[in-house]
Symmetry: none
Subunit: 133 residues, 4 copies
């Protein structure tokens, strides 16, 4: 099972709506089950450096089938996955990357959001992911 | 002058409509005046390798303010720009990248399309670019 | 709004003057609003490794519209942006990168300085940025 | 012997003057004897893609102590240096890169120019290089 562009656009629109609701400017990326980029938007005046980070968060979430923030807990100094960020051309392991599941609970892709605090990034990503179920 | 997300989405939607009209499956990317990614879509079942190519075409068009195919004519063996593709982390110089101008003729970004023949790629990119003027 | 070469040269000259005043040898880079390199100088005998760092500091400041040192506070182990340096092909998040604003307060680019202590790097960058306002 | 920043700035100013004289918009880079970037300017509205190319031309000229166009003659299909552009992280081998010599004929650096035809690029680079002797 793989995410469709229609589902990716649903996720992006839901995320964009949530971003506006909480007065943030976000970069939002959706990848498919193969971790390939399916859709992306950069809201006007959002951080340019977050164009790359949003995409890396989406990929990182799908690479390990978990929220990026969960990986970040394990990649700290002394942690079991210390400096895992060096793999795969550069991972981002702080919150804002969330897997997208279909109604049956299959992971069909992931969404990555960057542009505000990590709490806001995660909240917006969650809104996007939930809109697809 | 820089492209807005609304303009980028107009371009992508026009390109998507044209892609469907000619029965192709495209990857479509829009960059701003600074060559940063603003919006992207991958149509279902389009080539995965073209996700990257569409983005490089958009950047290449903006980098030199001309259609990518024009650069490709000059980068052939014996041509004045032979192997220019090695610059900027990798250019794509065959057709499918087109600058986006505003109503006053200012270049505000570029669109890159990849997924079919270069003729079709260019046609779809052109449709996207023209929708913004 | 985007920085001009004349403004970039003003910033670099002001930074160079400050660098000499405090007896340091600096690398100084200015990027535009799109994070593209506009001007650069390497003072004689300044560190060679700082040629790259100065450019990354300028880009990092513009990528997130804040001083690089602010990002570095958040990217420490346990911090909310831990290992953000892996994004965008490699960020530099210690002090020495400062946004450049025009007289109206619009961010039109950024300056990055590297070659001494981070305190000196920041001081020199600040001098450059302020000369443009 | 190594180029100084003062000499590099002399070369860049001479090149800039020549660029204006022939109505072109150039990116101009100077590297030292170690092929490290010493000074760079991007003239307003010059091609963004040439920021990278100007630097690669300067490096390529110094890497092999010859004009970039000379290398390009040898890197064609069937040539003795076919596809040498793949080395050193990406070379540019069409005209516009010229070595800088001091009054005694020692190579102390190189200048790379990009933004117009390769003939104009070479002409402007030559003007810069000659201003240092």
């Amino acid at each position: 099972m793989n995410i469709t562009l229609e589902q990716a656009e649903t996720a992006i629109n839901a995320a964009k709506t949530k971003a506006k609701e909480i007065n943030t400017l976000m970069n939002i990326a959706v990848v498919d089950a193969g971790a390939n980029l399916i859709a992306f938007v950069h809201m006007d005046e959002a951080w340019l450096g977050s164009i790359d980070i949003a995409q890396r968060k989406a990929k990182t979430a799908r690479y390990f089938n978990m929220n990026t923030g969960e990986i970040g807990k394990l990649s700290q100094p002394g942690g079991s996955l210390y400096n895992i960020e060096h793999s795969n051309g550069g991972l981002i392991t702080f919150p804002g990357g969330v897997c997208i599941e279909d109604a049956s609970g299959n992971i069909i892709g992931a969404i990555g959001v960057s542009g505000s605090t990590v709490e806001n990034d995660h909240l917006v990503a969650q809104s996007g992911a939930e809109s697809v179920k």
